[in-house]
């Protein structure tokens, strides 16, 4: 600890504390622009100059470490004069037209100019003008306003992992710009808007649509990936205008991924693919807008009649993993009330052999914040950067501090983090690769291995990964979305459990969706004789109840799902959105509220219970889904549907409002390890970041990003040669598996991707262009179109 004096008050701070940090701890504000607690120190804005006793010159508080006995004056005449002088310099070339600047009212420069600026400028010369840059569909530029603090540059380099911005030219001609003809394509790019202390970088979708003081600020929780980022949703006239991060060091820190920040545009979407605002019933092949009671009666009748005539088991419910805990719980209760066990929210999962063998709800296996403390990490089966942008960011930071991160996966995407080792192979080989690591670790530890691994021989990469893991003292193994969706997910889980056991490591699942843990807690999974998501589609049901799900895009096998919906006698769909597919196959469309218009709870991947309120009133006649389900339960005369509030539902499910849910356990009992080989061309299906859920799919700005390009058939050079195709040509991809007779073909552009293993082709899922191809994990045929 260091003792020093700050503005006359004695203080104690830990070694290495910077003056600005110490001051902020003590509640003393030091004006600054370039300093940001999550970024490296640049000390270039000079706004934080303070007086340090015995120092001949004012010192930048952001770059001056506290030393024992130091005396710092942050508001002395010398300090304030220095700060005011810097402010004068900052303003000479900065446009003084705050009323027409989008940042006006939330501008650090404007705010500090009130305190440190003068009422008139001594600068009478021409001002600098800087041409604007095209950074892509999300970030708008007004570069004349830039004060060259370089926060955005440091963000892209240090947090996002790729230097997509830089400062070119010298002196007052210096400009922040992307590389020539490039845009900023990071999945975290929106954070530079928050970081920019002036109006140089602003939100393109939000730009000039409202003033910050006109907006209501409400807390909410991100409905996208399993992290559960905390949000500030800003609304005006009952409309979501903008989403900003709510700082939570335990979860999203001060960041948001672009999906979380810009998906709100989908909340205001219109048209045939936009918001569903009125209950609709299909009669004689024609859609009619009806009153709620008519629609609900129709739905209740359909459910009751089919249950009566064909048995309740002929009804199946598919619930979106992005639905709230309350919605999931009431769906499950409704289904069980009418006597059906057929409910599932694990729509993209294909291996359900673990059901009944789990010791608890699968989860991250640790707190999110604990990821940063791991010293050895193995990630298995994950498009980490796009599936979990902020967890990837956490690993990026810890890798910089020396944590060894290794990867076993089917695609060699650039994670923009330093990997210690990586083993990339066809999807069917992932269990074998993981088994090799288990074997190698067992050998290093001198431990016995599962007899099922007798024939496994560890390769060099597996040995390298094993050596790394064995040398760690705080090891974590993370199974990504790809591993969870894998047809041998149970084997991957069991192997990971063995590996963790050998290492004394933590292991867990990176939750794919906002309620991947909550679905288990809400019992939105089939018990006993019920059918899981795959079974419900493979053996089609008479009636489907859909909650927030778009089966053709959200399920493991889109073609199969679409066929199942089409053959059903009734599809009752509770959704915030319309779609052409739904208008085609559904019979009742009940408009329900998206996360922004309902109260509810998400249980994030670490088991944290995060409840939120509606931030706006429901759009049109939409109603919160928990209320719709309650009424449906009442109409079906089921017991226990007398809820007055969503909190009541939550409290019933969780037994109150704990900070974390109980019953989390990743262990399996009695799962046999199977190491099978596959023949033929294997498909590697990623779920592109902005296609992953119904809301993101409807956000125009996100759909204009580089991450949202139409799916292609990505192959290695060897594969292209084998097919006699050159990159850029069209190929015809056919479903090679016999699982789904409805699966069709897709014409896609072939693309060279050296990160795809040989004899594989990478084709994104969750997109209309590829939904017809069938299962995400399957062998396919590829030929010249």
């Amino acid at each position: 600890m260091l003792e020093f004096e700050l503005d006359g008050k004695a203080m104690q701070v830990p070694d290495g504390t910077l003056v600005i940090e110490a001051a902020h701890q003590a509640g003393i504000y030091i004006p600054h622009f370039c300093y940001h607690k999550k970024l490296s120190i640049a000390a270039n804005c000079r706004m934080c100059l303070v007086q340090v006793e015995k120092a001949p010159k004012p010192m930048p508080a952001c770059a001056t470490p506290v030393t024992n006995g130091m005396k710092v004056f942050t508001h002395s005449d010398l300090a304030v004069k220095a700060q005011k002088n810097v402010m004068e310099f900052l303003l000479i070339n900065h446009p003084l037209d705050c009323p027409i600047c989008d940042q006006g009212g939330e501008c650090q420069l404007q705010d500090l100019a009130v305190g440190y600026g003068s009422s008139g400028s001594r600068y009478q010369e021409k001002k600098r003008v800087v041409s604007d840059k095209d950074l892509g569909p999300l970030v708008s530029t007004d570069m004349t306003r830039c004060i060259n603090c370089t926060r955005c540059i440091r963000f892209t380099q240090e947090i996002a992992g790729l230097m997509e911005l830089g400062q070119a030219f010298r002196g007052d001609r210096a400009e922040v710009m992307p590389f020539i003809e490039k845009t900023v394509d990071s999945e975290l790019s929106g954070n530079i808007i928050d970081l920019c202390p002036v109006g140089a970088l602003t939100s393109k979708p939000f730009r000039f649509s409202a003033r910050t003081w006109e907006l209501a600020r409400r807390k909410s929780v991100s409905p996208h990936d399993g992290l559960g980022s905390n949000l500030i949703v800003q609304t005006q006239h009952n409309r979501v205008m903008r989403v900003l991060p709510l700082e939570n060091e335990q979860i999203n820190e001060c960041w948001l991924s672009d999906k979380e920040r810009f998906s709100y545009e989908g909340l205001n979407s219109q048209g045939d693919n936009g918001r569903l605002t009125k209950p609709m019933v299909k009669q004689g092949g024609q859609w009619q807008e009806v009153d709620w009671n008519v629609a609900l009666d129709y739905a209740a009748h359909a459910l009751r009649d089919v249950a009566k005539n064909h048995g309740a088991a002929s009804i199946g419910a598919l619930v979106s993993p992005h639905a709230t805990l309350e919605e999931m719980a009431l769906s499950a209760k409704l289904m069980r009330g009418i006597g059906s066990e057929n409910i599932d929210f694990r729509l993209r999962q294909s291996d359900f052999s673990t059901d009944g063998k789990r010791q608890g709800a699968p989860w991250l296996g640790m707190k999110v914040a604990e990821i940063s403390a791991l010293d050895r990490v193995l990630v298995v089966g994950s498009f980490l950067r796009k599936d979990h942008p902020l967890i990837a960011q956490r690993l990026r930071q810890t890798a910089k501090k020396g944590t060894q991160v290794s990867l076993i996966h089917a695609a060699d995407d650039d994670l923009l983090l330093k990997l210690f080792a990586k083993a990339i192979a066809a999807p069917s080989q992932l269990p074998t690769l993981l088994a090799e690591v288990v074997k190698a670790v067992a050998e290093l530890k001198g431990a016995a291995t599962d007899p099922a691994l007798a024939k496994v021989e560890a390769g060099d990469t597996a040995k390298k990964i094993a050596t790394s893991l064995v040398s760690g003292s705080n090891v974590g193994i993370l199974l990504g979305n790809f591993a969870q969706q894998h047809p041998q997910a149970a084997t991957l889980n069991a192997l990971t459990q063995q590996l963790a056991g050998l290492l004394g490591a933590k292991f867990g699942f990176l939750g794919e969706a906002a309620n991947s843990v909550g679905g288990y807690v809400a019992a939105a999974v089939p018990f006993a004789a019920g059918m899981n998501a795959a079974a419900m589609l493979a053996t089609p049901r008479k009636v489907y109840l859909l909650l927030g799900a778009e089966p053709e895009l959200d399920c493991a096998d889109g073609a199969l799902a679409l066929a199942a919906m089409k053959q059903a006698s009734s599809v009752i769909m509770l959704s915030p959105f319309k779609s052409q597919a739904a208008l085609d196959y559904a019979d009742v469309l009940l408009p329900v509220a998206p996360f922004s218009e309902t109260s509810g709870t998400f249980v994030n991947t670490e088991g944290r219970v995060q409840s939120f309120y509606a931030v706006t009133k429901p759009s049109g006649e939409a109603r919160p889904a928990w209320k719709v389900l309650r009424v449906l339960g009442n109409l079906l005369e089921l017991d226990g549907f007398g809820y007055e509030s969503s909190e009541q539902v939550r409290d019933e499910v969780l037994g109150g409002k704990p900070e974390f849910v109980s019953g989390l356990n990743n262990s399996l009992a009695g799962v046999a390890i199977e190491l099978a080989a596959a023949a033929g061309v294997e498909r590697i299906a990623d779920v592109p970041i902005h296609f992953a859920d119904a809301l993101a799919r409807r956000a125009p700005a996100l759909q204009a990003t580089a991450d949202a390009v139409a799916p292609t058939a990505r192959m290695s050079a060897a594969m292209l040669t084998k097919l006699g195709v050159t990159a850029g040509e069209q190929v015809k991809v056919g479903s090679g598996g016999m699982k789904c007779p409805e699966a069709g073909t897709a014409i896609l552009v072939a693309k060279l991707d050296s990160g795809v293993p040989d004899s594989c082709v990478r084709i994104a899922a969750a997109h209309a262009a590829t939904a017809g191809l069938g299962a995400m994990f399957a062998t396919v045929t590829v030929e010249r179109a």
Binding site: I41, A42, A43, N44, C45, R46, M47, L49, P56, K57, P58, P60, A63, A82, N85, V86, E88, F89, L90, I92, N93, R122, Y123, E125, R128, I147, N148, G166, Q167, A168, F169, R170, G171, D172, R173, A174
Partner: protein, 455 residues
């Protein structure tokens, strides 16, 4: 002789040129055999043969009171002693970015005596324990960069650079690195950034390069002339070197004299030589005109009026006492034909042009200074402008990451202080105090043009 004149020449003793043409191919004496013939690499051999410890080498350099020749004048031995002992990866860097207007001594050292720099760097590498070194040579002297590469090849072939130098167990690799002409890359940390392949921008200090330098490793950076002096210090001993100069100002120094003198060029004189002596060696004032002012240490040093500079001796202490800086030894002489407003306009343009743009006061302030001075020069000055210049300069001074801010402010402060009346005259009368015809008479360019020269 390449050097125009010298007193007790040390550094320039071996500089040779055949014929009268100032062409590179006429240079002789820079090759390894010539350097060895005049006793080159003997200091290195002596150190290695005697197994002189790094501490002893540093002690000898400290004794010589060699002060950094790049401009700051920091004692070299002391700087070397800051390098942490025992860390495995350390670097040594030679700063040949010589960008200070008026300075051209390092150019001639590189031209006539590159092996002295190499030998100095090898000795320094031994002293600080560095296994790798770089010589950063600015872009405008590309031919000399090529020459340095040739010299490196010679030294490497002779076993002075590489593994196990002369069987001593010492290993050292030395590389040349070409700059591209940015003034800021002469600032030591900007130079390191540039070597690392980044935009040349100074780093905030601390940490100093001795702790976190090139590629984040401990690094010693010295000026070319500093390194070139090292072999002589080790040859003759620290005391002998110190005694060439005066206390606290050891050795001889190269001065680059430019401006209105009859014989502009490099001169080597002992530290403490009276300024009038240097002026006399440079052939005195051109056309017998009256001395008006001198910038004694490169363009960033405050200007001194004739009466003050004529009483100075050429050493750190005397010039500092007079209110300026010894700097890099670039002596810019101005006679009575100079309009000080115009001179300052040109100087301020340089700093405006060369500010790296990183920190606010310098990025914004250098442009402001230039614009106001330009306004005055062009007859649009306002009465409040002198106070404004003073304020802006003072607001830049001491508020920036590196010394460029000070370098931009000091000329403005000194010009407006010592020649205030000229600035006031300019503002009031919208023209120069020194009539245009007189200014033209003093301009070499103009006189040559009048004499019928085509350019």
């Amino acid at each position: 002789m390449a050097l125009l004149q010298a007193i007790n020449p040390l550094l320039s003793a071996g500089w040779q040129r055949d014929g009268h043409e100032w062409r590179l191919e006429n240079d002789s004496g820079w090759r390894l055999k010539d350097y060895e013939a005049r006793g080159g690499y003997q200091s290195l051999k002596k150190i290695l043969a005697a197994k002189m410890s790094p501490d002893d080498v540093i002690a000898e350099v400290k004794k010589s009171v060699l002060r950094g020749r790049g401009g700051a004048g920091f004692p070299t031995g002391l700087k070397w002693s800051f390098m942490p002992k025992g860390s495995p990866e350390k670097y040594i860097v030679c700063n040949t970015d010589e960008g200070e207007p008026g300075t051209f001594k390092d150019r001639d050292i590189q031209r006539f005596d590159p092996h002295a720099v190499i030998e100095g760097m090898i000795i320094a590498a031994h002293a600080v324990g560095a296994a790798r070194g770089y010589n950063y040579i600015h872009g405008e002297i590309y031919e000399l960069y090529q020459r340095f590469e040739e010299a490196l090849d010679e030294a490497r072939a002779a076993g002075y650079i590489g593994q196990n130098i002369l069987g001593s167990g010492l290993s050292f690799e030395l590389f040349a690195h070409q700059g591209w002409g940015a003034y800021i890359c002469g600032e030591e940390t900007g130079l390191l950034e540039s070597i690392e392949g980044k935009k040349g921008q100074p780093r905030y200090k601390p940490p100093f390069p001795a702790n976190v330098g090139l590629y984040g490793k401990p690094t010693t950076i010295n000026n070319t002339e500093t390194f070139a002096s090292i072999p002589y210090i080790l040859r003759d001993g620290g005391d002998a070197f110190l005694n060439l100069g005066k206390p606290n100002n050891g050795g001889t120094k190269l001065f680059s004299v430019s401006g209105h003198v009859n014989r502009p060029g490099n001169f080597e004189v002992p530290m403490g030589t009276p300024f009038p002596k240097l002026l006399e060696m440079a052939g005195g004032m051109r056309g017998g005109r009256k001395l008006k002012a001198v910038i004694p240490g490169g363009s960033s040093a405050p200007v001194l009026p004739a009466d003050i500079i004529m009483d100075c001796t050429l050493d750190y202490d005397s010039i500092a006492k007079a209110g300026s800086m010894f700097g890099s030894g670039a002596v810019i002489v101005m006679d009575e034909t100079v309009c000080m407003v115009q001179a300052l306009e040109r100087l301020s343009w340089f700093y405006y042009e060369e500010s790296c743009g990183q920190c606010t006061p310098c990025r914004e302030g250098t442009g402001w200074l230039h614009k106001v001075i330009q306004r005055i020069e062009h007859g649009h000055g306002r009465p409040e402008d002198l106070d404004l210049l003073n304020d802006v300069s003072n607001n830049i001074m001491g508020r920036t990451i590196c010394a460029l801010g000070d370098a931009a402010a000091l000329p403005v402060l000194s010009f407006t202080k010592h020649f205030k009346s000229e600035f006031e005259y300019h503002i009031e009368h919208k023209k120069c105090l020194v009539p245009r015809e007189i200014q033209k008479a003093g301009s070499i360019f103009h006189t040559r043009l009048m004499a019928g020269a085509t350019c």
